[in-house]
Symmetry: D2
Subunit: 255 residues, 4 copies
């Protein structure tokens, strides 16, 4: 799959790194607002890859020109909330799959994504790691099986992380538990860890997710890209992509 | 629901304890091979309950007489592999739901259960805790999503437990990983713990189940009984009961 | 060692259970305020033991008479804050070692213990498990090595436990960290767990203690009794007993 | 403190990174066998620092000349087993503290270190992280307190790590437990984790160490350097440096 990447901050770089190392996908270009020191992402990241991976600056080129000259199958967006306005319309009319990993969209952006999804496949997830989304999915399932179970959430992150983890807040919301059921630990030597504790009479179940680097976003974005192939026009979230795996499990096991 | 219990060993006692404390179910009787010191399970366990909970010995009464005089909706079996022959036929013809938690059935017993399932709803699970069965289910789902993920299994039990945990072996089989991926810890101060470690590039997901007492079997057996109500004749396992919860999750979330 | 036990509540019973099962110590008697259904603790607990283990009621017998007729080497106190006044003076004049595991003494009781310690060896620990006291000791050591390390405390207990764990508060005090560094989880299926997280740049150290039953108090009390043998008159805490083990380590390793 | 670093492989680079970011110490130079692309370690690592941090190649300069022209207080060695022969004698005669973090010395090298320790302070630790050495120390202490405790060791590392972790083997040796008490997990998404499980009747204590990057070696090396200041000539290991902290703990707490 030919992929274009929007944004080249810490997360964007980590995602470029993962795409460059993938044999199945080609990083065609990286679009950023400001100019760069190197002409390609593979030079910048010191990765050996056949992908073009040219770093393109909006100052030098319009998005329309870019999409015409260097067509892609999917755009992965790790820029900021405003990014979608720069490329959204041009991508949608060309039926390019849009995969957005922006954490903090306002209502206007969400509405814009929905409009775009009338023309192409649009995916949005504020935390695009496979592990966290699986955890959200599996936790909802258990809550459904046992509605009265005690639920507590623990999250551990590096000392400087301010506020409660947004992912932990989302887990709490999706399980319908109070925000004060979230315990936050901040200390050196920790990257990021989320744990959901289900307490039953006489037994506990724990779901734990740990990341060791931002590259986990890259694996997640590629998983999304691969699972959106041949999907019809529409607006998708991570759960939409995970649900079909359940059915195939069932089939296999009943055979 | 009116329940009859077969077997009154360590697990049987713990299960009786849970049923007696449940407001929704009545423990009608406990059937055991040998005579008992007390006439009811509630006296033996010192539980205050309106349930009859009479301890019945096979020496004094035939199963046919018992089922006629003291009818039940479901039979929960924590006896031994041979137990099913004592009550199976009589229960099936009366359309009594059969819930068996026997760990080690031979082929003959499994075949017999299947025969019985032509006449009534028959359920069998060698580990009848909700937590372990959820873990098996959720782990299979993740393996399906990410077939190439690294999987390792850890199990920790009390010092005296001989051999590798049967539940860990079942987890390994259901995930199609080698038995040497199971790490066993034996030490004082531990009741029972199973952990499945999924290693992805840059992230891990861990599913952990811990029991603190055999009463966990009782909660599991009641969950099964409640979920088999109004189910048609047939042979069921734990996954059959968990699968429908997935669909209701989906519905809720899509609304 | 001949041991007398004061108090026969939940903790007292668990401690009696451990002493009765010990080959090296004899439970001479259990003193309680109210009368009991059985005449010995071994009947009550259904433990087979050569120890007398008679249950003695204060209603029937004075402490003076008891200590004269049934002398012991050590008294272990799991009663309440007032208990020490019933037996303290009589025990001290007879040079009987006093081991108190009372959680909540007032200033008056602490002062009384110190007075008694002028006449006999007196030990007091509000949490008498070996594991928690080792954890306190080892955590202080690490804090000393690395004064600037980030420290967070997690404690998990059964749903009904009210307030923050007293042991967690004590850990926080001894490490000089704020009370809001304690994260409390309350959920079914958990007995009791304390974790101290030390976060360094690039690495973490975690000390974790888990109990699975109150019997852990019994092992701790016997450890204390064995380590107080031949100790001179004085007032001891758990750290006093652990410190000498450090020196013997050092010697062994330098040889 | 003025520091010279021997070796600039993966670990050496991470250690240089930590020293460069430290305000209290100056990285004077890095000695390596082959030439480098950049003239200083701070350019190579893109760290802003006032330290000279010149990369020196043995091809261009003798160690004698280097030590004369650019004197240091301590040498930290992350090269290979042979490295010590290149600089050992010249450093010892100048009373420069030698801190070696080489994992695999032969008997000849150990003997050579001992000879050098007659002239200057020499330190050697095959795993120079503070956390692992604290864990070794604290675990020995607990084993001493409770010689009959059940001990099991778990280590988890990235998929490609071959064989059982050398640190885990050292932990097992120092606790006198069989090598088959070590459980090894290999999976993606894990950097490095060691856990010692102590199982008592009714309770467990767990000591857990996790690293998230090789920079942890740098913090350890600086801890060693700081604790060797003003130490007399002699041969030191990590335990020698940790032991004095114990005494200061005791003093504080008894006051």
């Amino acid at each position: 799959m030919k992929i274009g990447l929007i944004g080249f901050g810490k997360a964007g770089k980590a995602v470029a790194n993962v795409i460059l190392r993938s044999d199945q996908h080609s990083l065609e270009w990286v679009l950023r607002n400001s100019a760069a020191n190197t002409s390609t992402a593979k030079d910048f990241l010191e990765v050996d890859s056949p992908d073009p991976a040219e770093i393109v600056s909006l100052a030098h080129q319009t998005v329309r020109q870019l999409l015409n000259e260097r067509p892609v199958d999917a755009i992965i967006d790790f820029s900021g909330a405003e990014g979608i306005y720069q490329y959204g319309k041009e991508a949608a009319v060309r039926k390019i799959t849009i995969i957005s990993a922006i954490s903090h969209y306002g209502e206007a952006e969400k509405k814009f994504l929905e409009e775009l999804s009338l023309e192409t496949a649009v995916f949005w997830s504020p935390n695009i790691t496979l592990g966290v989304n699986y955890l959200l999915f599996a936790a909802s399932l258990l809550k459904n099986i046992a509605p009265d179970v005690d639920i507590e959430i623990s999250e551990e992150h590096f000392k400087a992380k301010a506020g409660v983890s947004g992912t932990a807040v989302k887990i709490a919301e999706s399980l319908d538990v109070e925000a004060d059921s979230i315990n936050s630990v901040r200390a050196g030597g920790i990257v990021g860890r989320h744990e959901v504790i289900f307490g039953f009479p006489y037994q506990t179940v724990r779901l734990v997710h740990e990341s060791i680097s931002r590259e986990a976003f890259g694996s997640g974005a590629l998983f999304v890209a691969e699972n959106l192939v041949n999907k019809p026009t529409g607006f998708y979230n991570f759960e939409d992509l995970l649900r079909p795996y359940f059915f195939s499990t069932s089939k296999e096991e009943s055979s």
